[in-house]
């Protein structure tokens, strides 16, 4: 029926007005019908007319009201539909906003190791536009966050398990490697054992790289730490030593820089993976060329192979893999037959800001360029031994060389030896007191003092040209043969004296026997023979 709130006064008048016409017409018709009729019939006509008029009036009023009520209801209906549509649109908008803004923000927050409750507090409640989120939506968001949190926790624990297993393998491999190195030192004199040890060592290094790869894919940083800077050459050799076919790798013109300790391990690993790819996907008889040049942004390490050219599609795929890995790879994405290399390189590149690109090589194969940022490079002294090897322990002061030149008698007459030219002053300059040191009277304490804390101090030289080492604490045992060389002026003479085996009394023990043997056998003096005094034989016997 008509609503109460509809304005009655305004509506009532039209009702009366609309009802008026049929009522008047009916009344008129009744009147017109009553006029010609006479007597009792008139009264009946009038009554019937009056009744009909009343009925018409009632009907008119009722119909009119009905119609008006309907109109009002339709309007109401339309308004409600509009309201509902608006509400639906708002919901849509809200859902969209939820999925496009709120949830991503919340998940980001969640990934930053916040609990779902914290995320709700920080993201939803802190934002005025989200604060009066409907309860259902709130519950939905919380539910989603909870599920994601659980999944993340599971993935994390899976990765942690991965990493911890890899770490254990790494630890074993590392220990094994250092033990192998000791064994290699120990069995160095037995080539057969040594070669076998090298083979085991190589296998161990391959296992180590695999463990490193697993750890890196598990999101961990490389475990091995290098306390000091290591020369780039050593780093690249380290990378070589971790791949199967290291013999096919050629290092050319490697920039003489060192890599800071923290970046050594990742660089070795990344280079090893790239070298592994290069050697694996090129024919076995081809070589892999490695160069490292300085560029504006750091050092560009180029690894070129002569293998089959990477098709454009394959190149794109590899680059994709790199990019994916840089964006953070999932273990699932590694696929059925995991080709870990690129993923590992991508990971490392992301962690350490290395730039990697794959291009067509001039040799027809692939050229991988790895750019090492400048802050990983140091040009300072690299204590890591490197090309090293032994750069620290060789007789680095020219004092030694000059001494050798002059103590070792120039016996080889068949060959002009540069060493026989005598002490060169320029060589001796780094030594505090070159002149006395270079002179024949070579007091052992002075020599050892000049050499600082160098461990291997060659203090004495036998006549046979063999050095005698001894610890610095003891008195020079060989001082008995010093007088022979004590006169600097008589140096050439002294040298001649050496040749002639002049002073039998001053000769080291053992030489007399040799001289005797030669005399007995009539063997002409062979330069090679002179080197073999008895103590040399004793050394040889230790073998």
């Amino acid at each position: 029926m008509v609503r109460v709130e509809s304005p009655p006064t305004k509506r009532d008048i039209p009702v009366v007005r609309a009802a008026l016409l049929p009522v008047v017409l009916m009344a008129g018709a009744t009147a017109a019908g009553a006029v010609p009729v006479t007597g009792a019939a008139r009264a009946a006509v009038v009554v019937c007319g009056a009744v009909a008029t009343a009925v018409v009036a009632t009907l008119a009023v009722v119909l009119n009201r009905r119609r008006r009520a309907m109109r009002v209801q339709r309007a109401e209906y339309e308004r409600r539909i509009a309201a509902l549509e608006h509400r639906i649109a708002t919901y849509d908008q809200e859902t969209e906003r939820l999925s496009k803004e709120l949830l991503p923000a919340a998940i980001r927050r969640l990934r930053a190791s916040n609990s779902p409750q914290e995320v709700m507090r920080d993201i939803v409640d802190a934002d005025a536009s989200y604060r009066n989120l409907p309860k259902a939506q709130r519950a939905l968001v919380l539910q989603v966050l909870d599920i994601i949190d659980n999944e993340e926790a599971m993935r994390d624990s899976a990765q942690r398990a991965f990493v911890s297993v890899a770490r254990r393998v790494q630890a074993i491999v590392h220990r094994q490697a250092s033990e192998l190195r000791e064994m290699e030192d120990h069995h160095g004199r037995n080539p057969d054992v040594f070669d076998d040890l090298l083979r085991i060592d190589h296998g161990t290094a391959l296992i180590g790289r695999l463990a490193d790869s697993i750890a890196v894919l598990g999101g961990a940083r490389p475990s091995r730490q290098w306390p000091k800077a290591v020369p780039l050459f050593s780093v690249l050799r380290g990378a070589m030593s971790r791949i199967l076919e290291y013999q096919r790798v050629d290092l050319h013109s490697i920039a003489k820089v060192a890599i800071v300790g923290t970046a050594v391990e990742p660089l070795i690993h990344a280079c090893a993976e790239l070298l592994d790819n290069a050697t694996r996907y090129s024919p076995p008889q081809t070589r892999v060329h490695v160069t490292a040049v300085e560029v504006q942004t750091g050092i560009a390490i180029e690894i070129e192979d002569g293998g089959v050219s990477l098709s454009e599609e394959a190149r794109v795929r590899a680059e994709n893999m790199l990019a994916q890995a840089q964006a953070g790879i999932n273990m699932n994405d590694l696929g059925e037959s995991p080709r870990l290399g690129m993923a590992v390189v991508g990971r490392l590149a992301r962690m350490y800001q290395l730039q990697v690109s794959l291009r067509q090589s001039a040799y027809g194969g692939v050229r991988a360029v790895l750019i090492v940022p400048r802050d990983m490079i140091t040009t300072g002294p690299a204590p890591g031994i490197a090309h090293g090897i032994g750069a620290t322990s060789r007789p680095q002061s020219s004092l030694d060389m000059s001494q050798m030149q002059h103590v070792v008698p120039p016996r080889g007459k068949h060959k002009a030896r540069p060493a026989a030219t005598g002490p060169v002053p320029s060589l001796a300059t780094p030594v505090p007191a070159p002149a006395p040191a270079a002179s024949a009277a070579r007091p052992a304490p002075a020599a050892s003092a000049a050499m600082g804390d160098d461990e291997i101090v060659v203090t004495e030289w036998t006549e046979g040209g063999l050095p005698q080492r001894r610890s610095r604490g003891r008195a020079p045992l060989g001082s008995h043969n010093l007088p022979q060389q004590s006169a600097p002026a008589a140096e050439p003479a002294a040298r001649n004296g050496h040749n002639g085996h002049g002073g039998g009394a001053t000769a080291p023990p053992g030489l007399w026997l040799e001289a005797f043997t030669q005399a007995v056998n009539g063997v002409p003096k062979d330069p090679g023979n002179d080197t073999d005094s008895d103590d040399a034989w004793d050394k040889g016997d230790e073998k």
Binding site: R181, E182, G188, R189, N190
Partner: protein, 122 residues
């Protein structure tokens, strides 16, 4: 329980380096020249920039004759590594080695002493 260990020269962790010995040596099955610990080695040429750093170091060291044992000690590389490096250098004639006399080529020491005593008694 770890197995009993022999006393070995401990590698100094401060100077540990990433490269393994087989990278320096080359092929593990490579032929080795007959070199002894006391074989004397002399460089015949200046190190060229293309040789391996260790070989360059050997060439620098061996300007004056050095025994293989000494080279091994100075480079702190095991004897077998040094011999394979030297083998390569020998093959390219950058160094020359002087083989020690074979012991059997000389009469036995006791025999010599006997002869000496005999001579002294004359």
């Amino acid at each position: 329980m770890s197995p009993p260990r022999r006393e070995r020269r401990k590698a100094d962790p401060a100077v540990s380096d990433p490269e393994r010995l087989y990278v320096i040596t080359g092929a593990p099955d490579g032929e080795r020249a007959a070199l002894d610990l006391v074989t004397m080695v002399v460089a015949q040429a200046e190190p060229s920039p293309t040789v391996q750093p260790e070989q360059a170091a050997i060439l620098r060291l061996c300007k004056a004759p050095l025994s293989v044992a000494e080279i091994s000690a100075y480079l702190s590389l095991p004897f077998s590594v040094v011999t394979s490096l030297l083998t390569e250098l020998l093959a390219t004639e950058l160094i020359e080695s002087r083989a020690p006399i074979v012991r059997a080529a000389l009469p036995d020491r006791s025999l010599l002493e006997a002869v000496m005593h005999g001579l002294q008694k004359l």
